[in-house]
């Protein structure tokens, strides 16, 4: 298989089309949706770029917190973490929990909405 153009290149090309060609020709609700679509593609590009590394480190932290077998998926580990919190076995006082959730959430918002004010507050 080849990847010329690569997935990010293809997504960028569609985003350029929306921004430079489609949007200027749209009005009202359609123009609004074009802006949303362009923002979505920007999120897709950040997700492609940042998720692999962010999820690898999230998984390492989850395994350290839950000390389970390493072959579980991140989704399964988050399910287990949620169950532990729901049952009261883990609370906001549990060492490392709040730090882990903060790091994970910051990585997620860096992808979803990097200019969100709450992210700035978390960094300060």
């Amino acid at each position: 298989m080849h990847d010329q153009p690569s997935v990010p290149e293809l997504v960028q090309a569609v985003k350029n089309f929306i921004d430079e060609t489609a949007s200027p020709n749209l009005k009202g609700h359609a123009a609004f949706h074009a802006r949303v679509a362009s923002n979505v593609l920007a999120t897709v590009l950040r997700d492609l770029d940042q998720r692999p590394e962010a999820e690898t480190s999230e998984k390492a932290r989850l395994l350290a917190l839950l000390s389970g077998p390493p072959e579980q998926s991140v989704e399964a580990l988050n399910r287990e973490l949620s169950a532990q919190i729901q049952s009261g076995a883990m609370t906001s006082e549990t060492p490392g929990l709040l730090e882990h959730l903060k790091t994970t959430t910051m990585a997620q918002v860096e992808i979803d909405q990097p200019r969100y004010s709450g992210l700035e507050a978390a960094k300060s």
Binding site: H33, K102, T105, V109, A121
Partner: protein, 331 residues
Amino acid sequence: MGSNNDFENALNALFTRVFGEKAKLEAFQRLSGGASQETWALSGSEQQVILRRSPGGTDAVVSSAAIGLAAEAKLIESAGAAGVPVPGVLHVLDDADGLGDGFLMSRVYGETIARPILRNDEFEAARSVLAAQCGAALADIHAISTDSVPSVLPLSDGLAQIEKYEEIYRSFDAPRPVFELTLQWLKANSSKPLPTVLVHGDFRLGNLMIDETGLVAVLDWELAHLGDPREDIAWICVNSWRFGQSQNRVGGFGDLADLLSVYNEKTGLSLTTKDIDWWEMLGSLKWGIMCMIMYEAYRSGADASVERAAIGRRVSETEMDLINLLEAAHA
């Protein structure tokens, strides 16, 4: 439903019915905003009015939490009588109008969109008085006798809301550890409910009409219910409703102390900024779960729009705010 022509004829008949034989509808235009309800601007030779009605003129209440347009009209009248700035209700639609559920109100002028209100120079003076005006309006809303409000209004205090939103969140079977932690933390740290009042339910920029002098009208009463007064005060403090101006806790424009000072004076309560913290956390959690609900409309195929898909990626902003609030609570 009927054709465009039927709609226009019904509007003409409505205009004559409400304003008399000589009144003539000259123009009508759909205004943007309000996915759950249609808002139309109607102009006559002497009248400028707003029609709010259910989409396509149906009679069904769209959102399960919404109280319905007839009840909304009644509430706006009660609020006006209590001194809350609201548009005047001119007519509540009935079967004879053939336009579905809705009501006609006077048109108020100003800006509802947060960005210009928070950033443009023309609103600078408004921003400096808005927190106090919001405190006064909320005090007046909360003083309305709960016996006089429409009986469809549900009773929903803090713990009831946690229960309701937890149930919705669990139904999606998409575990989010930050929401789990928030749910447990809120349950473990709740305070005694204050005496029940009429709660507006969506008091924030977007639903407030603002001009250069400040608050002109409190709009969008469809989520009104009976509950705890701190809910309304905290909702406008939720970081998502500060629209990027986080340093100003009230709506991105004001100090909570300024709002509370007027509010306490009018109500006789002695709320402090700390009393609002728990409710602000609940507000962020609710907004996060509301984003999940809106994304669910996309995931289930009910609404294929890119907007509904995209809002699923706004859930993380509320997780970020909740982490910041949990950290502050443990500091």
